[in-house]
Symmetry: C2
């Protein structure tokens, strides 16, 4: 106890503890140095063009970031990669859960790398933002392919909207192509609008089906069959072979009901067993035939141009809506206008006018 006179203020502070000297200064320096070692745009572009998968992954992380500095960098990288992209076939694969998408893609991917192809597998799954990654999230589902030097697997980006998720995947395609991947596979699940998004970024759209019980045509989301360039009936093995053949006949008939495609391609129905590695070569030969015939009639190029155009307009419209609904005044008043409109105390058109005035 101190015996000194104690006119101490309530604000008195104890002396601080002096800096302990067991922090290694060299470690701090090294951490700071590594921190600064974020690769530059040029470094990443160079890496991608040198077919370096680590650089590719890092660039994709920038594309998927929410940080505006990262996004500006991503835009630059994409622009620099663009002249080196486009030389690939882009294949969309959809099918309801349980149809065996992962097994099929693994067998298909391994078959292609066996042919000397370089295969990138991407995914569009907006639900992954809620469930924190569902499809492709678990890389162990494609154990063999993930170890393959000539394959690159990236799970779905997460995001608030399908539009955002799809945009990120579409930009990732450009990066993968510039990195030398000549076959891009984009997986999606048979729910919501994600098929439409994937369909609008691929050359060839493949619907994976099972020879299921009951009416084959029942339960297929209308519109998806219309988009398909091929229906592959999976799990055509063992006891299933006969049922798969029957399903094939039924789907063939169903496809006849649709008007001819702009590609002049007649959609095919094939059976396959990803588990038994059967029919995979047929699928690839069919895709090669598609590429040949659509390159010959110029549809391949025209279609990609149309898709680019579509994505430009789509992005603009999404941004316009985003900016509107995130305007602070609109946010404040939207609900009361919605309520008034629902209850017919204001007409929808007048309410819209009032809200637009807030911009």
């Amino acid at each position: 106890m101190s015996s000194k006179p104690t006119h101490r203020s309530a604000l008195h502070e104890k002396d601080g503890v002096s800096q302990p000297n067991f922090i290694s200064k060299s470690s701090v320096a090294s951490i700071k140095k590594n921190r600064r070692k974020q690769p530059s745009v040029d470094e990443l572009v160079q890496g991608i063009l040198n077919q370096d998968k680590v650089a590719l992954s890092r660039a994709i992380t920038l594309v998927e970031s929410k940080n505006t500095t990262h996004l500006a960098k991503a835009t630059e990288i994409i622009e620099q990669c663009l002249p080196h992209a486009n030389k690939s076939i882009r294949i969309g694969i959809t099918g309801v859960p349980g149809v065996g998408k992962s097994t099929f893609i693994e067998a298909f991917g391994k078959y292609l790398t066996g042919l000397g192809k370089k295969v990138a597998v991407l995914a569009v799954d907006p639900s992954s933002s809620i469930s924190s990654g569902s499809i492709l999230g678990d890389k162990t589902r494609m154990e063999d392919l993930v170890k393959d030097e000539n394959a690159f697997i990236r799970p779905s980006a997460s995001g608030d909207s399908l539009g955002g998720v799809a945009r990120k995947t579409r930009e990732t395609i450009i990066l993968c192509e510039a990195c030398g991947f000549d076959t891009i596979v984009i997986e999606t699940v048979g729910v919501g609008q994600s098929e439409t998004a994937v369909h609008s970024m691929v050359d060839f759209f493949l619907l994976l089906k099972l020879a299921g019980a009951g009416d084959e045509l029942q339960g297929i989301k209308r519109g998806i069959i219309e988009m398909a360039d091929a229906i592959v009936i999976n799990k055509a093995d063992g006891d299933n072979v006969k049922r798969a053949q029957m399903a094939r006949t039924e789907f063939k008939r169903a496809l006849h009901l649709y008007p001819q495609k702009a590609s002049e391609w007649l959609p095919k129905v094939v059976t396959a067993s990803a588990l038994k590695q059967k029919g995979i070569d047929d699928v690839w030969q069919m895709i090669e035939a598609f590429r040949e015939s659509t390159k010959a009639n110029n549809y391949f190029e025209t279609h990609r141009k149309e898709q680019n155009r579509f994505w430009l307009l789509q992005t603009i419209e999404e941004r316009l809506k985003h900016n509107f609904y995130n305007n602070p005044d609109v946010k404040k008043q939207l609900d009361s206008y919605l309520n008034a409109t629902e209850n017919s105390t204001i007409s929808p058109f007048n309410a819209a006018q009032q809200l637009l005035k807030l911009l």
Copy 2:
């Protein structure tokens, strides 16, 4: 000829001809007076509430005008009519050309006015802006109904976009209801997206079909059957009766493939002959049953609220796009960005960003 010295300038003007005095001053006054006699908002609203079809027509003309003063007046009229609207059943009718829509609507309308109903027939046909009026344009097609005191027929508004045409029709519904019309029939043709627009403004959606040759399900636009609350097979008379019955069976089976509607209403298939006035009463009884059951389970009200909400958001999004694409800078640069995007010299997302900066 004048003999005066002639230092006349080249700018010399001949004397004007004096005002002839054979224009009747009273006529001029009368024309000016009539011109000023444009009815006020209050006069039009009062007329509409007094069930005056002339006032109704004039108000609709304001809704359809492109003049901003007229449109401001229209908005006021609609707001004042709103509390008196909503007490009706709104029925959408679609079907491809040749299916007998006019004949059906005439028979249906006459049947309803015979029951003491007041029937307004409107149309949504965006193609009419090109062809200058197709459906309902020729009122002689519904000769009897048009003379009926308790019926009101208005052809489709014209406009550059389906959105614009649909908006005008939707506002017209409010005016018709305030004018005492308790049954609103909205006709559309089986082309383009107009069905979706009509579906989103009616309580009950009816698809008119023929017992045609060949496969009944072929050629039906996917999505329309899904929207239908009823399919009416028209021209079920003479030699057609048996075929109509067969078509009925086939459609019934097709309807089973769809998931249950939020209204809990099971879509019906009935046969009718508008020409022979057969089955019209069945159609109306079915609609009455629909109204009863959806009022009981509260779907009727909820659905109208949802539609109001939808139209508010839809209008906002259309306006945002309209404002963007009509911005002079955007107009100037859009094409070159579209070209660059199509040819992959800029990515769609970067192009979108650059264009959005112009706003």
